[in-house]
Each structure stands twice: as structure tokens, then as C-alpha cells.
Amino acid sequence: MKVEYLFYLLVFPGLLFTGVVGLLVGWVDRKVSARFQYRVGPPLFQNFNDFFKLLGKETMIVKQSVHWLFIAAPLVAFAALVLLSTMIGSALFYQQNIGGGLIVVMYLLMVSSVMIILGGSSTGNVYSSIGAAREIKLLLADELVFIFVCLIPIIKSGYQIDLVQIAGIQESGGAFIRATSGIIGFILGILCIQAKMTLPPFHIPEAETELVEGPLMEYSGPPLAFWKLNHFMMWVVYPFLLVLLYLGGFKSEGLGILWFVLKYLAIVVVMIIIKNTNPRIRIDTALHFFWKILTPLGIIALILSVLGA
């Protein structure tokens, strides 16, 4: 193991970078949403204040809960996200493959949802268990479409599962979004992200006015802070992955950094717009939407990508 890997993991593009950028993008989300709704919105460092305040609060643990699972769930999800951000980030910024290809990324992306399910159901609270059940259904709904989203770049890049190779092929041959299958894949990707991050219209497990934050209901203090941080880190990890898979990654020379930031912000803004213009749908509608509408679309895109379109 090299020393710089530790730097990648802890500082850039891992823990520190993803955490700070995530909290800042969380502010962008809150501010833009507020402007959508004719509100003023929070100040720039509100998310940092929230996070550090939560760290200092008492942790209440339900007596009947499985204590170790209750505490471990947010931390495992956090670790998985740090690892993910390191893998995706180093492929983007250093052109280095750390820890494996797209398949590993796909598995690690599932860890966060699984941990929400485990942490939520460890308490035995009725709202949490229903929320966890909904999270399982949502995971079942979006996972197949997300596999298609990852498969299309693999096929387009000549069956490469290495993130660096996928980015490299786009650098020489143009971003995959220029092809028809790429456009479909990108749209499916944004909808999948929306569901995986449980943002509106897919905030079904946490449904505040139904299930009182669902799986996160019993959490307080530092574990809750980590759940919140995880959520903000997803604001970095998922759009970065989409940029890498469809929008041609990152170039360090010339206007590359600016282009990258613009691509990233474009995805974030589209997500915020979807978030603010839709009501929460029912879980059966979500399943219907993903299985009966998006899955056929994904198959069509897959066939198109095999045909080279």
C-alpha cells in the first residue's frame, strides 16, 4: 500500500473533500429549493453548524433495539461512501484505479440502502419498520434500472469495467451522452439517483408526514449526524459517477476544471428541479414506474448501445 492512497482516502478525493463539498452542495440544494418556494433559505455554513451541533447531542438508544447494529449502521454506510468517493474520485482526478471496477462500485452503492434498512429495523419501532420495508421495495424497484445505467457505458466502452478506461475512452471518442443510448441512460441515471438518495418524489421511506422520518426516527445525536452527512456525501458521489459514466469525466488542462464543475452543477440543478416539482408518490406507483416504464426503456437503450447507436 502506498502512502498517497491514505491521502486519497482521507483528504482528496475521499473523506474531507467529499464531506465538505457535500455539505456545501447540501446548502446549494436548500438554498435553491428555498428560492423555488419564495423563501430566503439558510446561510452558507448552516449544514456545518447542524452537523457539529448534532455531534454534541446525546445519543438515545432504544432499550429493545439491537444496540451494536443501531450504532454500526450509519458508520458502515459512512465508510462505504468514503470508499466510494475515493474510488470514483481517484478515477476522475488521478486516472488511477483503486480497489476495483464498476461492479465493486455498484455493490458499494447498495450498502447505504441496506444499512438504512438494518439500522431502521434494529429499533423495533413501527414507523421505522414500515420505513425499512419501503426502503427494501424501493431498492428492488431501482436496482435493475441502475444496473442498466451502469451496463450501457460498459458496452459503449467495448466491455471495460474499469472506471479509468471508461473515462479514457470518452476522452478520446467523445462523451457517451452524444449517442441515443447514452441520452436514455443518463435520464434513467438521474431518476435512479433520485430514488437511491430518497429525494422527492421518492422520499417514500422517510415520508415525514406519514412515517415521521421512517428508518431514521429513533436516531439522535452523532449517529443521526452521520446519517445526515451520508446523505450530503451522496450529493457528491452519485453525480460524480454520472459525470464519469456519461459526461466524459474530468480534464485537468485548460478549461477542464470549469467544465467539470458545470457538468456537476447541471446534474445537481436537474435533481433539485425534479425534487421541487413533484409530490411524493406511493410505493406501488414507484415500483410500477421503475419496472413497467423505465425497465423497458433501459432494455431499449441496452440494445441500442449493443448496435452502436
Binding site: 418556494q37 413501527v126 414500515i130 419501503r134 422527492p200 416539482t277 408518490i281
Partner: protein, 395 residues
């Protein structure tokens, strides 16, 4: 899957007030529902019997912060029923004006909350943004934003300033435009429709069986409206439609409310036109209230509110009974919430616009020692009203 019990309440983010529903669920489907109200009893009827008639009008105004003029209107109707007093024409129009403005702001409040309940916070904020000018109209008319203190036995307390009418019409035009926009959005948005159509259906027969009132019954095809069936004040003199839809689902309740706002705007506009032409007194002083009993009905935003007053010739009622619309609308959940998913059941619970403090006449405890805002709200409110008045007269 095993059966679970989901408590909605006594404190739940769905509704701000204390209420308690027990949902028996099988997986995600609600199989049974149990209602438990009466968490906030405050003894309004008893207090009213200790007060004089004029005082009890102010008291019933505090029953609910949202329909804060429906209760006084029903109450003065009941007292006027006892003493058979003639109400001046100008006072009639002012009463109707205030009552209809209240309907607009109450329906907008529900619209916003409904948006919040289905996780559509943009609708919530927008609806409440457009509610703000309505509250400003109230401030122009009465000097207050929520408790107006306009009703008196035999008329109204304050006259509408003729100089304020153009400003009121201007605000009204703005709200009407926005309401037509919201009606269009509700008609066009496929996601909203997929979320609300055929959800929590209350059939016409069930609406009749449970004696549902107001928009809850009108959305189910029962055309009951006190304003038309028993017109008092200026309702016999103005032109309006009673909005009735047939399906009884949450979407229809939304449509009924949005269209009712537009009808209310029409009524308010007619009242303003009449007020510009009619001059005369606004209050017929009542010297004495004879022994007897009287009832007062008024179509509050949530449905028919009913007041009963019995007098014995003194200056206070010996019995004062209040029946709020939510009292009959809440039991309709027994019919509309069974066999549907939890997500649908909870929006159905909110769709009748239940008002628990009306139903139970609750007590609110205010801690006077805490003044965290550190500003004198009363003084700030008065300054604001004076500013508005100055603006109107300056033009």
C-alpha cells in the same frame, strides 16, 4: 404479513393539533381505523354561559384561529334569532365580505397543508404566499390579521373604509389570477393526479349516512350549502354557484376547494361593488334580549357550523351549544380510510380539513414569561396597520 398498529397521534407531524387515530395495517394496507378525539377540551360552552352576549361573541371567535369569523357569525345569528332584530343592509354585505374572505384564506391554508402532506413543499409555500395578501385585506378591513372582532348582535363593529375599496379590488384581482393558475395546474399535473385521484373515496351514500358537511359532502355529490339553502346576511342578494363534484376522492375535494375560492372571490367582488353604493348605518343597537331560544347556522370553510343559544331575559345565555363541522366530518374516515395504503389513508385524514380545536374547543396555554422574540408584537402589529391605512389614504 402480520398486522401492525400505527398510531397517528396524539402528536404526529401530519396534523398540528392533538388527535389520535389508530390504524390497523396489514403490510401497507389499512384494514381498520379507530378514532379518538377529545384530547383538548376547553369548556367554551360553559365559559360562554358566564359571559354577556357581547363578550361571548369574542369568546367564540377564539374557538378556532382559522374559521375565526364563522363562529361569531353563527353565534350572532343565534342571538338575533331570539330577539328578531333587523340587520342594516350595509352590515349584511360587510358580514358576507368578511365571511367569504375567510373562506379564501382557509381554503388556501388547506391547499398548502395538503401539499405538505403529500410531500410537495413547493405547493405548500406557494399557497401560503398567496394567502398572505388575503390576510392583508383583513388587516385593511378590520385592523387584524386573524381575529377580526367584526361581528355584533344587530350588525357589525367596523365599517369598511370607502377609500380602501380600490386597494382591496386590486389585491383580489391578483389572487384571482393566481387561483386560476392553481386550478390549471391541478388539472394538468399528471403526478398530482396519480397521487390524488381515486384516493380515499367517500361515496355519496356514505356522505349522507355520516351527515358530512361542507366541501367533504359537496365533493361526494351532496349539494348541501347553508349559504344557498338558508340564505341570510347578503347571500340571498349575491350571485354564486355551489360547487359540487361526484367522485368523493381527495382530488375532488381539492377541486371543490379551489373552485370555491374562485366563487368566493366573485362574491367578495359583488360585496365591494355594493358597499361602494350603499350608505347607511352598520349597527342596529339591541337594547334587550328576550327569553327564548335561537339557532344560528353558517357555512364555515369546513362546512356548516351550528350555534344554539337559550336565554332567560338577562344579559347572558343560559345555554350555548356549538357544533363544529369537523365533528361530523371526522367520523367519515371510518368509511373512506379502510382498505387503502397508509400513504393514501393519511392524506385522506387531512383531506376533510379537520379542525380539532373547533371540534373540542381546546385550551391553549401561553407562557407570558417567555418573550424570545424580544419585540413587542402588539405594537408592531398596530404600527403596520397604521402604515397600511396611511398608504391607502395617501393615494
Amino acid at each position: 404479513m402480520s398486522k401492525n398498529t400505527i398510531p397517528v397521534g396524539p402528536f404526529h407531524p401530519l396534523l398540528e393539533e392533538a388527535e389520535y387515530f389508530t390504524l390497523q395495517v396489514d403490510g401497507e394496507t389499512v384494514v381498520d381505523i379507530d378514532l379518538d378525539i377529545g384530547w383538548m377540551h376547553r369548556g367554551h360552552e360553559f365559559i360562554s354561559e358566564q359571559k354577556t352576549f357581547t363578550q361571548s361573541i369574542y369568546l367564540v371567535e377564539r374557538i378556532c384561529g382559522i374559521c375565526s369569523t364563522s363562529h361569531p357569525i353563527a353565534c350572532v345569528h343565534a342571538i338575533e334569532d331570539v330577539c328578531n332584530v333587523e340587520i342594516p343592509e350595509r352590515a349584511c354585505y360587510i358580514r358576507t365580505l368578511v365571511g367569504e374572505l375567510e373562506r379564501i384564506h382557509s381554503h388556501l391554508l388547506w391547499l398548502g397543508l395538503a401539499g405538505h402532506f403529500i410531500g410537495y413543499d413547493t405547493v405548500w409555500m406557494w399557497a401560503w404566499k398567496y394567502r398572505e395578501p388575503v390576510l392583508q385585506m383583513f388587516e385593511i378591513i378590520s385592523g387584524n390579521r386573524n381575529h377580526y372582532g367584526m361581528m355584533r348582535v344587530g350588525g357589525v363593529a367596523k365599517d369598511v373604509d370607502p377609500a380602501a375599496v380600490p386597494e382591496l379590488s386590486k389585491i383580489l384581482d391578483m389572487i384571482e389570477k393566481k387561483m386560476i393558475m392553481i386550478a390549471k395546474v391541478a388539472n394538468d399535473d399528471p403526478v398530482l393526479k396519480s397521487r390524488l385521484v381515486n384516493v380515499g373515496v367517500l361515496s355519496k351514500q356514505d356522505a349522507i349516512n355520516f351527515c358530512a358537511v361542507g366541501p367533504t359532502s359537496r365533493a361526494s355529490g351532496v349539494p348541501a350549502d347553508v349559504r344557498r339553502d338558508e340564505p341570510n346576511d347578503a347571500y340571498g342578494l349575491v350571485d354564486f354557484k355551489v360547487i359540487v363534484t361526484e367522485n368523493g376522492d381527495v382530488y375532488d375535494k381539492l377541486v371543490v376547494r379551489v373552485l370555491e375560492i374562485i366563487e368566493s372571490i366573485k362574491i367578495v367582488r359583488q360585496c365591494l361593488d355594493k358597499l361602494a353604493n350603499i350608505q347607511g348605518p352598520i349597527l342596529n343597537n339591541v337594547k334587550e334580549i328576550p327569553p327564548g331560544e335561537g339557532i344560528g347556522r353558517y357555512e364555515a370553510p369546513r362546512g356548516e357550523v351550528f350555534h344554539y343559544v337559550r336565554t332567560d331575559g338577562t344579559n347572558r345565555p343560559i345555554r350555548h351549544k356549538v357544533r363544529a363541522p369537523s365533528f361530523v366530518n371526522i367520523p367519515t374516515f371510518m368509511a373512506s380510510c379502510k382498505g387503502i395504503p397508509i400513504a393514501d389513508a393519511l392524506i385522506t385524514l387531512a383531506a376533510v380539513d379537520p379542525c380539532y380545536c373547533c371540534t373540542e374547543r381546546s385550551l391553549k396555554v401561553v407562557d407570558h414569561n417567555r418573550d424570545s422574540l424580544n419585540i413587542n408584537l402588539l405594537a408592531a402589529s398596530r404600527t403596520r396597520t397604521e402604515e397600511i391605512r396611511r398608504e391607502i389614504h395617501g393615494r
